[in-house]
């Protein structure tokens, strides 16, 4: 049956989705944080045909005890990757539980300029209490308070992206004006816990608004472009996706594939000796490349895309690249991104009108 084509996203943080993934990585631990390694994983994923790369992050180091692992900030890695790739979209995870939305807005808008319109943003939360003492800020206590900080923060960031109209820079030599100040806007945001004045210090991003991804149960649907939906089986994913209320939905899929050296089951069992691969209520495929391709084929009628979380990048990415993605592209079950297009274009999302320009035009029409 021919259905819609999926867009494929890949989470590339660390050595893989399993907390002990580094033990099966094809390199020693001290190479994980090297620029060569960061660039190589991104280049491999771009060549494989992924539309979007995501980079997990948080104030606290990933892993625990003997599996504690270093991690470079996702925005810095994303910017580095943007300059060493040309087609693939890049979305760092940035939590807003404690961060300054003004800085986050500047960083992400800059990432979109640097990547010439290939940037996204995965909104997340700092759920662990220790994060408050990392930031030196009062604890944001409880799920409701964290959701409030995400909601207010995303609103501020989105307002700031629109606080410059696209044509604010006029370079009027005759009048000596670089800017038309009427095309810049104070956002005057007032939330539950803080206010932000604006306008931004970075001009409007090339995409107008970056592609914003998040969990629909944690961020209001009207603030998201893509809902990242959980669910242990197709029925659960279908239910979550249809309730999301966002322009696009991506299913979260954890994967471990058979390789020439070991079956997927054996690879998982090997890592489970060191740490558990905790169940986050997501689809999980442990098995053959063909089985994964079949599962993804079925997901076409349920969601617009998938985000894959490989057990170990160095083992699973070659299998994805060699077997799974070509299978999907041959059958038009998934789309490869094309050069010289924005991430929004790859996702079939329009470039949004500027909220302030639209308001001003309405005012003028009266």
């Amino acid at each position: 049956m021919s259905g819609p084509a999926l867009r494929l996203a890949l989470e590339i943080d660390g050595d893989g989705a399993h907390p002990a993934a580094w033990r099966r990585a094809a390199h020693s631990p001290d190479h994980l944080l090297s620029p060569r390694r960061v660039a190589r994983v991104a280049a491999d994923a771009e060549n494989a045909g992924f539309t979007l790369l995501t980079l997990d992050d948080g104030a606290l180091p990933p892993g625990a005890g003997p599996d504690a692992v270093g991690r470079i900030g996702a925005v810095e890695r994303a910017a580095f990757i943007a300059a060493s790739t040309s087609v693939v979209g890049i979305a760092p995870v940035v939590p807003l539980t404690y961060a300054e939305p003004f800085h986050v807005s500047s960083q992400l808008a800059s990432l979109d300029h640097i990547s010439v319109g290939r940037a996204g943003w995965v909104v997340s939360e700092e759920a662990r209490q220790e994060a408050a003492s990392v930031w030196g800020r009062p604890l944001v206590d409880g799920a409701a308070a964290r959701a409030r900080e995400s909601r207010d923060g995303v609103e501020v960031v989105r307002d700031l992206w629109d606080s410059w109209e696209d044509d604010a820079v006029i370079r009027s030599v005759a009048t000596s004006r670089y800017l038309d100040r009427d095309r810049l806007h104070y956002i005057d945001f007032t939330g539950d816990t803080y206010t932000v004045k604006g306008p931004a210090i970075v001009p409007r991003p090339p995409q107008g608004q970056l592609v914003v991804l998040g969990r629909p149960d944690r961020v209001p649907g009207d603030l998201l472009d893509i809902a990242l939906v959980d669910g242990r089986d197709l029925a659960a994913v279908t239910a979550s996706a249809s309730a999301a209320g966002t322009p696009r939905t991506f299913a979260e899929v954890e994967i471990a594939l058979d390789t020439a050296a070991a079956t997927a089951e054996e690879r998982v069992a090997d890592l489970e000796r060191h740490a558990p691969w905790s169940d986050r209520g997501r689809l999980r495929h442990i098995g053959s490349a063909a089985g994964l391709a079949a599962l993804l084929g079925e997901l076409r009628d349920v969601v617009d895309g998938v985000r894959l979380h490989p057990l170990v990048l160095d083992e699973d990415l070659p299998e994805l690249s060699r077997l799974v993605l070509p299978h999907l592209f041959e059958r038009r079950h998934a789309l490869r991104p094309l050069p010289a297009a924005t991430l929004r274009t790859h996702l079939g999302l329009d470039r949004p009108a500027n909220r302030y320009a639209a308001a001003a035009a309405q005012e003028e029409a009266r």
Binding site: D30, F80, K197, V202
Partner: protein, 412 residues
């Protein structure tokens, strides 16, 4: 003063360090010139950084301002505004350069140490030890209106905060012992179990308790730059900085006096007097002949003047570390500290310090809303007949002038 014989210096073998500021946001950029190009296009940042690297510059700098400048409560519209976040842009440049230093101007008042120290560590690791941090502070509530933290720090407190900030940042950068991360694939742990030290700090400004997330870079810490000029600012630099940007690059004796003063302060805090690199701001205008360079200078000066009020404010920026943006972005009453302009000719001969124009050749600039007090004096209007653009080469940098910083040669 002028030195005509390049060998008539106390240490003829002394070497200079050169850095270059990407211009953009300030009054220097002649944006009306077609060669000035886009101030946000990543290709321009890449070109300037790669050109600097090819020219063996030590460092490429980006400034920062956390609120758009205003005049009388309205957004200042005459100069370039809008630029990328410095660390984010530099992380991208780390991927397309190999040797040049990447220095971010980042504010201690409106950041938190764990976050900023980690971002700088990331830049340092991605560039394999090429990161620098130009430490700046802000003392106005006006900028704070963009932050959840909000609020106002008075002048003394912002230095205290900056100093405490650096203390925490250094503890984080030193949180992992060297060689902490395993270099063998079959190691029992990713990092040695006792290699990461928890950082606990309780002070008037910060109360944090955390495990640093990153190992040390190839250079240990990012290089600390600072641009203090008040007594307090110079003391801050003497205690904390590796490099100081000096605004005393306009007059040789003044530059030496500044260097002597800094060295005395270094001795006073127990540091060797050559422990701090001094980089005075210098503007370089290049022409095929000296005459052409001088003509170009006149043209650039004229272009840098636009009709706007002159800024006078007794409480403005007088002793700030570096108020709104780059260390060059200061209030006009400090004209004495305007950069030295040298006009080298492409045919050789020694660089000749040019005569300063009446206000040091600087167009008055607003630095933030607290400075916004126009006087009755107006600069010439752009309607005046302008000198014609006297040369036809396209400029190698975004502004028609290259601004760089160079360290003074040590006086023996």
């Amino acid at each position: 003063m002028t030195r005509t014989d390049p060998l008539d210096v106390p240490r003829p073998d002394a070497q200079l360090h050169f850095g270059v500021f990407f211009q953009g946001v300030n009054h220097w950029t002649v944006w009306s010139d077609p060669a000035s190009g886009s101030q946000i296009d990543p290709a321009n940042f890449r070109r300037v950084a790669q050109t600097a690297e090819r020219g063996l510059f030590d460092a490429f700098f980006l400034g920062e301002g956390l609120r758009l400048r205003e005049v009388d409560g309205r957004i200042h519209d005459l100069d370039v505004a809008g630029r990328p976040d410095a660390i984010t842009q530099l992380a991208a440049l780390a991927a397309v350069t190999d040797r040049v230093g990447l220095v971010s101007t980042s504010n201690t008042t409106f950041n938190e140490p764990a976050d900023l120290a980690r971002r700088l560590s990331g830049l340092d690791l991605l560039s394999e030890g090429r990161a620098g941090w130009n430490v700046v502070t802000t003392d106005n509530a006006w900028t704070g209106a963009n932050f959840r933290r909000g609020g106002y720090l008075d002048h003394a407190d912002r230095y205290r905060r900056a100093e405490e900030f650096l203390t925490v940042a250094r503890a984080l950068w030193d949180g992992w012992t060297d060689g902490a991360v395993s270099d063998s694939a079959g190691a029992p742990a990713w990092a040695a179990p006792d290699a990461v030290r928890q950082v606990r700090h309780q002070g008037p400004q910060f109360d944090v308790d955390l495990a640093p997330t990153l190992p040390r870079s190839a250079q240990g810490h990012p290089v600390i730059f600072q641009a203090g000029d008040s007594g307090e600012g110079r003391d801050f630099a003497a205690r904390n900085a590796d490099v100081i940007f000096s605004a005393h690059g306009n007059d040789f004796d003044d530059a030496l006096a500044f260097a002597d003063d800094l060295r005395a302060r270094l001795r006073a805090v127990g540091r060797p007097e050559d422990d701090l690199r001094i980089l005075p701001g210098t503007e370089i205008i290049i022409g095929a002949t000296e005459e052409e360079a001088l003509e170009k200078k006149r043209w650039i000066r004229f272009q840098q003047v636009t009709p706007q009020p002159r800024w006078v404010s007794p409480d403005c920026c007088g002793a700030s570390t570096s108020p709104a943006a780059t260390p060059t972005d200061r209030c006009p009453r400090r004209t004495r500290s305007s950069p030295r302009t040298t006009v080298p000719s492409a045919r050789g001969g020694s660089p000749t310090p040019a005569k300063s124009s009446p206000n040091g050749g600087r167009r008055p600039t607003p630095t933030d809303g607290r400075c916004a007090r126009p006087s009755s004096r107006s600069a010439p209007s752009a309607a005046m007949s302008a000198p014609r653009r006297p040369w036809r080469t396209s400029s190698p940098t975004s502004s028609g002038t290259a601004r760089s910083t160079a360290s003074t040669s040590r006086r023996t």
